[in-house]
Every structure is written in structure tokens, then in C-alpha cells.
């Protein structure tokens, strides 16, 4: 995978040193050179100190789907970062670091390029975080990039703060001059000098969390309530920031229990609502999930997975909550679980999810993960998707409206409080068509049948939209969520393999999946320890995978490892 078709940069240092924001700046500089970009990060659950890193990958010639083990350039903001990441370097890679850090190390393996980073910042009396701007300048200089792109970006980032913008531009420029001197000796991928970015560029460099928020907005979200929980909090931060611009309610209540109950209350009143959390917060929402199902109140729940059990690894990634969200809450009821694998899918599925919740009056769970939520990819521009009108009655019935009317497809017309002449009774106890409590056996069965009838149409949707297939071959790799991206990276240059991503996890698109894997060798790859997708395949298709690759150390797979594993099956 050490091709010159793409570039990988790693920025590492202590938490609080501005690593993420500089990785985003670098990513955007690459984007505006016309490149495809990918950014991911890893950080501990603390605010200052500790070690964190961000990897930025870019290519003009190909899509970059994920991070990889080996990188071309490391920007090491402290000594431990040099020691830790020297092993990540490609043979012709280099480490950019401070001269003090370099001189205090026992040996220089010839890959270190030391600069007076801290000295410059100190002499200029600049905040220590601006060291990043010199570092980025050096990188862009080495890559022979267009400095005007960077300058324009700083002007945009520090709009209204001219002094800050000028300072960062000056530091970037100093770094850029250093970098240019090294440019000829650097053997890796170089940036195109002529910027391809025209300003009318319609691609986006975006993270999965923001994409979810935008997808929900595009489907008419007007009410978002969320209690902070890593790695779902960026959805709250983003929507809180834009709430005035888009005119919606964004609110942080006392707990996840409060959050989902507020969202259900808002939906009962007629507002399209959503909550976002991780596994622990979802655990607290489980009782209210059943409430949404029993009262047939539409709700979109975003669950951004992190490793459990319990507090687990708060800032890392996993796909261990699949079975949990499919089965959560007492009793039996229809629900939908959708698992996007990239920001474009996250946008589309958040829109679809909210629309499906309202069309069928069922809870919809959008199952994301930290790697998807907090990594950035270049994706095509987001299309306008809009609202799919649900069944809503504005009829004046002169009393209680039959909110749970028995219908053929199980979906009864919605009516909202405030409708002239019609009253609406939502009841978490078993109820009749008007919402009044009942324990009458025939009525109880009738209502349960009505709710479960929604599965008929939902299964049709699942069969139609439930999987994505890429490539063809006698070996089928089935995966889900963000792991799809790593598999795509791993399959570059590999032929004879078909990738199948399962998107509808519940209801399960079993017929469609069966047609894709029939008579093929079946490999399953998941970011968990028990093979939960494999168990769904076993249950729905009576099919045992021929190979199962699992990873559960809190990290996403490396494409190198996946490629090796798949190759071992190709050779057999």
C-alpha cells in the first residue's frame, strides 16, 4: 500500500495543543488543492496532557477511505510523539519536530527534520498553539503547495480577527519557506502547484456527526434534545451553534431519560424531533424507546457507538451495540435500525430515518460509531432531500380522534393536540383505537397485530434499500458501519472480491443479502468481539461465514491488516 498515489500526514502531541484544528486546516488546504481528503483522530478522555494524534490523508488520483499504518510525514509537537511515531514512518518519510526535542534524543535515524519552532513562537510572543501554523507551513512547503490557498483559509477562519489571521499567516509563511528548502529531497507525494479548487467546488469535507445533523435538518428537524456524551456530543455542539440560523429548538436537559422523553413529547405535539447519544445514554433511553413504540410516536435516535461495557473506552470506537439496539426495551414492537458507513450515507440515512419514523410512526435508530462520527471524508455535495408527508388528519371529529385506528398497513392517521374539534390520547398502557386503556384479550391482540403489521412495508423498504454492493467476485466481504470504509481502502488493487455493506440492520434485508452471497465464499468483518452481524446472518440466512475477522481493542481496523486477511482467502 506504499504507493505514491496518496499522501499521509500525522500530527501528534499532547492534548490541548491544537492538533485537531490543525489537522482540519491541513485537510482543508488539501481539499482546496482539489484533492480527496480523509482525517481521523485518536485522543484520551482528558482535556490537557496525554497523547493524541490526527492523521490526514489526501490524493488527487483516488479516494482515500481510511487511515493507514504508515505515513509520509509526522509533525511531532513534543518529544514523546517523536519516539512513538518514528515507527509509523514510511522508509522515505520524515519527522518534523522542534530542535530542542531533537537534540535531547539519543539518536537521529536520519528521518528527523528539526526546526526552532518554539523559539520562533516565543520570540514573536505568540500563543504556543500557533506552533501548528509553522508546522503546517513546513508541510505545505515540502509538498510544494500553493501558499495562497492557506492564506485565504486563515482569513476565513479568523474572520473579524485580522491580527490573529495575520499572525498565523506570517508563521505559516515562515514554515513554508523552511519547507520549500526540503521539497526537493522529499520523495513522497506532492501537491499540484496550480490549485484546482475554483471556489465553486461542490464537494464537502465533513464528519459523520455533522452529516447526521444536516440530514435530520433536511428532513424537517425542529426539535433536538441531547445530553452530552462522547462521541455523540459534536451533534449537539453543531446544532446548538446553528439553531438560530435554522430556527429550531436545541436543548440540553438533565439526563438522557429527560432528553428522549422531551423529544417524544415534542413529537406527540407535532414537531420532528431527534436525540443523539452513545451506548450508555441509549441504555437510559431504553424504557422511553418502548414508550415511543407503544404510543406510536415518531422518534429518531442517533446512537454513536464507543467500546463498552459500561464506561468502557469513552473516546474510542467500536461496533458492539448492534444486538442491543435491535432488541432494547420490553415487549415486541417494530423498529428500524439503520447503519451508515460514511458521511454521505449518514446525511441520506438521517433524512430517511426521520422520514421513516414519521411515515410509519415507529422509533428509528441511526447506529453510527466514533470512527464515522468524528472522522472527516471528502464526499459529493449533499442533495436536497426534503420531507415525506406522513398521514396527518386535521379532521374535526367532535371529541376523541381514533388515533390508533385499525388500518391495513398498521399505520393510523396522526393528529396533534390543538386540532379544532379533535382530541388526542396517547397511552403507554395497552389501549383501544381512541387511546383508552384496555385489558380485553381480543383488543389487546388486535392492537399488537396492528403495530406489527407495519413490519410488512418496513421489510419491503429493507429489501429495497438495505444493502450496498461494490465490485464483484467469488469472495463476498460483508461488513457494516464505518468498517466499510476501511474495507474499501483495503480492497484497492485487489480483484475478485465483492463488498457488501448491510445498511438496514432491522428489519434485516435477508432476501437481498442471500442473493448477493449465494454460492460465494462469505467473509464477515466487524469492529466487535462476538460477530454480531455474523449472528444476524446466521439467524436470518442460516449461513455460517467462511471467515470472520473481528477487532475490539477500541480502534478501527487498519486496511493493511484487512488486505492481508482477505489475500489469505484469495490464495486458498
Amino acid at each position: 500500500m506504499e504507493t505514491s498515489k496518496n499522501l499521509s500526514v500525522l500530527i501528534a502531541g499532547p492534548a490541548g495543543a491544537g492538533i485537531f484544528s490543525s489537522s482540519l486546516t491541513l485537510g482543508k488546504i488539501f481539499l482546496r488543492h482539489g484533492l480527496n481528503v480523509f482525517i481521523t483522530n485518536e485522543y484520551p478522555s482528558l482535556i490537557r496532557g496525554g497523547h493524541q494524534w490526527a492523521q490526514v490523508r489526501a490524493s488527487l488520483e483516488e479516494t482515500v477511505f481510511s487511515h493507514q499504518k504508515k505515513v509520509d510525514i509526522v509533525l511531532a509537537l513534543d518529544k514523546p510523539s517523536i519516539e512513538k511515531h518514528t515507527a509509523s514512518l514510511k522508509t522515505n518519510g520524515i519527522i518534523i519536530c522542534d530542535e530542542e526535542d531533537a537534540s535531547s534524543l539519543a539518536k537521529n535515524n536520519g528521518q528527523m527534520r528539526a526546526f526552532p519552532l518554539r523559539k520562533i513562537v516565543k520570540e514573536m510572543n505568540a500563543p504556543s498553539v500557533t506552533i501548528n501554523s509553522i508546522g503546517l507551513g513546513i508541510i505545505v512547503g515540502i509538498l510544494n503547495g500553493n501558499i495562497e490557498i492557506a492564506k485565504k483559509l486563515y482569513d476565513e477562519q479568523f474572520r473579524g480577527k485580522k491580527e490573529t489571521a495575520d499572525l498565523n499567516k506570517q508563521l505559516f509563511n515562515m514554515g513554508y519557506e523552511y519547507g520549500k528548502e526540503l521539497s526537493n529531497s522529499f520523495q513522497g507525494y506532492k501537491l499540484p502547484q496550480q490549485a484546482i479548487y475554483s471556489g465553486k467546488e461542490k464537494r464537502l469535507l465533513i464528519d459523520g456527526n455533522t452529516a447526521v445533523a444536516l440530514g435530520a435538518l433536511s428532513a424537517g428537524l425542529t426539535f433536538f434534545v441531547s445530553y452530552p456524551m462522547t462521541p455523540a456530543s459534536p451533534i449537539l455542539h453543531f446544532l446548538a451553534e446553528v439553531q438560530k440560523e435554522v430556527g429550531i429548538v436545541v436543548f440540553q436537559p438533565e439526563s438522557e431519560i429527560a432528553a428522549i422523553n422531551m423529544a417524544i413529547g415534542a413529537a406527540y405535539a407535532g414537531a420532528r424531533s431527534m436525540v443523539a447519544t452513545s451506548g450508555g445514554g441509549f441504555s437510559l433511553m431504553v424504557e422511553a424507546l418502548g414508550q415511543a413504540a407503544m404510543t406510536e410516536t415518531p422518534i429518531l435516535i442517533v446512537e454513536v457507538q464507543r467500546p463498552g461495557p459500561s464506561t468502557g473506552l469513552p473516546t474510542h470506537t467500536a461496533q458492539g451495540d448492534l444486538r442491543f439496539v435491535i432488541h432494547a426495551s420490553q415487549g415486541e414492537f417494530p423498529r428500524v435500525v439503520l447503519a451508515p458507513g460514511d458521511p454521505y450515507q449518514a446525511y441520506v440515512l438521517a433524512n430517511r430515518g426521520l422520514n421513516i419514523a414519521w411515515k410509519y410512526q415507529v422509533p428509528v435508530i441511526l447506529l453510527s460509531d466514533k470512527y464515522l462520527g468524528e472522522s472527516y471524508w471528502t464526499v459529493p455535495d449533499f442533495p436536497e432531500l426534503g420531507i415525506e408527508e406522513p398521514k396527518i388528519s386535521r379532521e374535526n371529529v367532535g371529541g376523541f380522534f381514533p388515533r390508533y385506528k385499525i388500518t391495513e398497513d398498521g399505520v393510523s392517521p396522526l393528529v396533534f393536540p390543538g386540532t379544532p374539534g379533535s382530541l388526542v390520547y396517547a397511552n403507554t398502557s395497552e389501549h383501544d383505537e381512541y387511546g383508552f386503556g384496555t385489558i380485553e384479550p381480543s383488543k389487546v391482540k388486535e392492537m399488537q397485530d396492528k403495530r406489527l403489521r407495519k413490519y410488512r412495508l418496513l421489510r419491503e423498504e429493507a429489501e429495497k434499500h438495505g444493502i450496498e454492493t461494490i465490485g464483484d467476485g467469488d469472495i463476498v466481504v460483508v461488513t457494516w458501519g464505518s468498517t466499510k470504509q476501511v474495507v474499501l481502502e483495503a480492497l484497492k488493487g485487489v480483484s475478485g472480491v465483492k463488498l457488501v455493506q448491510v445498511i438496514w440492520m432491522e428489519p434485516f434485508p435477508k432476501n437481498k443479502l442471500l442473493s448477493e452471497i449465494k454460492d460465494k465464499r462469505l467473509l464477515v468483518i466487524e469492529n466487535n468481539s462476538t460477530g454480531q452481524l455474523a449472528s444476524l446472518i446466521r439467524e436470518n440466512l442460516f449461513r455460517e461465514p467462511d471467515g470472520l475477522l473481528l477487532k475490539y481493542d477500541g480502534r478501527q481496523f487498519f486496511p493493511e491488516d484487512i488486505q492481508l486477511w482477505i489475500n489469505s482467502y484469495l490464495e486458498r
Binding site: 435538518l217 435554522v246 436537559p253 431519560i257 417524544i264 413529547g265 406527540y268 424504557e287 420531507i387 397511552n427
Partner: protein
């Protein structure tokens, strides 16, 4: 307006003599006297004997899960501020399992009403201890007597920043009706703890009748916070009426940007084209 306009015609299944009848009656009368259109009202009930209120009130209703009356009601109100949202909860529902929501609803001053049917016992689950059961009382879960200090809901509401704090008694229906009317007229979070004997598992009618007295008869000034705290701490006699009432901005005021029109009336999705420019 005739209070029977709020009657669903369902025959209540509460025990004969239950205090819930008085609360139901007082609420229907209060709404009728204020001439409030039933379509505009949403009654939210929790789990417990009080929860039957939603079967008997001919308004919009939501019978939610145990303890979640306040967040449910908050969501409804924030989504459509034109509605009058009245929460009914029991002492178990509000002060045990749902306690995590109570101080927050009070401090954020959401314009909803909370009526707690406080009978100091779990009735529907056949007589267990609740957070307001007095020390020493034998219940099915404390056969040797309750050993926990009961909490004081009025003090708690005051400490949490509630802008309308009152106590009623189901034995005083007319007084209760007036309290409900004042609560409905209040702009902000209005809390009424209603002492409501459970005739089956913890009958306190006799002792309550002896102890209660009306605050308005004493000339209490409901804007006097310190006095309200003192009165709330009284144990020898039990004051009923409005302890405290002030005006403070309500939660809805923080969301004026989302109220034109309010979330429930929005026809079109937000325009995200401009926001997308940030990601190019």
C-alpha cells in the same frame, strides 16, 4: 362553561372516598371557570392511581411511563407554546423515580403546571413506602416502620427556584380549585402538592383535617421567600395555599428564534445550503 365538558363519561375506578375524586373535580371546575377550550389543554399523567386522570379528562392527554411527566410535558410545551400543559404525578412518580426532573423543571421555569397527588404511599402497587411517608409508618415494604426522613416537597421546590409553589388538600375542593386556577394563570412553572389521603392504604383524613389551615387567612405575602421557607418547614400545623409566587423569564423565552412559527407548525425543512459552504 359547564365542567362536564371535561368529562369523558368513563366511570372512575378509584376507591370510594379516594382523594383523587376531589382533584379531578377541582381541575374540571377550574378549567371551566377559566373558559379554557379542551383542545388547547394537554394533561400528562404518570404511573400510579393518579394516572387514571387521563382516562377521565376530556382533553388531549398523554399517559406516560413512570416518573417522566415533567420531561414529557416540557417537550410538548416547547414544541407548541400555545398549549396549556398540566402534569399530574403521584408522590412516588414525582418524588421517587421522577425526582431527577423536578428541581430542573423548577429552575428552568418552563410554563407548565405540576399537580402532585401526594398520598404519602404507593397505592396502585398496594401500599409501599414513598419519599413522603412519615418516619415510623408501617407499609408493606417497611413492615417494621419507615426509617427514612420524608422529604419536604414545598421546601425542595422553593430551593430549586420554582416561581409558583402551593399546597392543596383534597378535603378542600373549592380551595383546591382556586389554587388550580391561580396555577394555570401563572406564567411559568407552577407546582402544587396536593395532600390526598389514600383511604385504603394510608388514611390520613382525620389528622389532616385537624392540622390544615389556609395561608390566605393569615395574610401571608407570597412574594416573601424567607417567610415561605419558614411556613414550608412547619410540622405542627399544615399550611395550605400559595407559599410563593414571583415572575421570572420562562424557558420558552430562550427559544424565541424557534417560535415563528413554533416547531409543530413548520411546513418546510430548514435551508442548509448556506451552512454547507463551511465544509468546502
Amino acid at each position: 362553561m359547564d365542567p362536564s365538558i371535561f368529562d369523558t363519561g368513563k366511570r372512575p375506578v378509584w376507591c370510594p372516598g379516594c382523594g383523587n375524586y376531589s382533584i379531578l373535580l377541582a381541575l374540571r371546575k377550574a378549567l371551566a371557570e377559566l373558559e379554557i377550550n379542551p383542545e388547547r389543554v394537554v394533561i400528562v399523567t404518570g404511573i400510579g392511581c393518579h394516572g387514571r386522570m387521563s382516562e377521565y379528562m376530556k382533553t388531549n392527554t398523554f399517559h406516560t411511563i413512570h416518573g417522566r411527566v415533567l420531561p414529557l410535558a416540557t417537550g410538548i410545551k416547547l414544541a407548541n407554546p400555545d398549549l396549556l400543559v398540566i402534569g399530574h404525578s403521584g408522590d412516588g412518580d414525582a418524588y421517587a423515580i421522577g425526582m431527577g426532573h423536578f428541581p430542573h423543571a423548577a429552575r428552568r421555569n418552563i410554563d407548565i403546571k405540576l399537580i402532585v397527588h401526594d398520598n404519602m404511599i404507593f397505592g396502585l402497587t398496594t401500599g409501599q413506602v414513598t419519599p413522603t411517608t412519615p418516619i415510623g409508618v408501617k407499609t408493606r415494604s417497611t413492615p417494621f416502620g419507615n426509617f427514612e426522613q420524608p422529604l419536604n416537597p414545598i421546601l425542595l421546590a422553593l430551593a430549586s427556584g420554582a416561581t409558583f409553589v402551593a399546597r392543596g388538600f383534597s378535603g378542600e375542593v373549592e380551595h383546591l380549585k382556586e389554587l388550580f386556577k391561580e396555577a394555570i394563570k401563572h406564567r411559568g412553572f407552577a407546582f402544587i402538592d396536593v395532600l390526598q389521603p389514600c383511604v385504603t392504604f394510608y388514611n390520613t383524613y382525620t389528622i389532616l383535617r385537624q392540622k390544615v389551615y389556609k395561608l390566605e387567612d393569615t395574610g401571608h405575602d407570597p412574594t416573601d421567600f424567607e417567610r415561605a421557607v419558614k411556613l414550608a418547614s412547619e410540622t405542627e400545623r399544615i399550611p395550605i395555599g400559595i407559599f410563593y409566587r414571583i415572575n421570572r423569564p420562562i424557558l420558552e423565552d430562550a427559544f424565541l428564534h424557534a417560535m415563528n412559527p413554533p416547531p409543530v407548525l413548520r411546513q418546510k425543512p430548514a435551508d442548509i445550503r448556506k451552512i454547507l459552504e463551511r465544509f468546502r
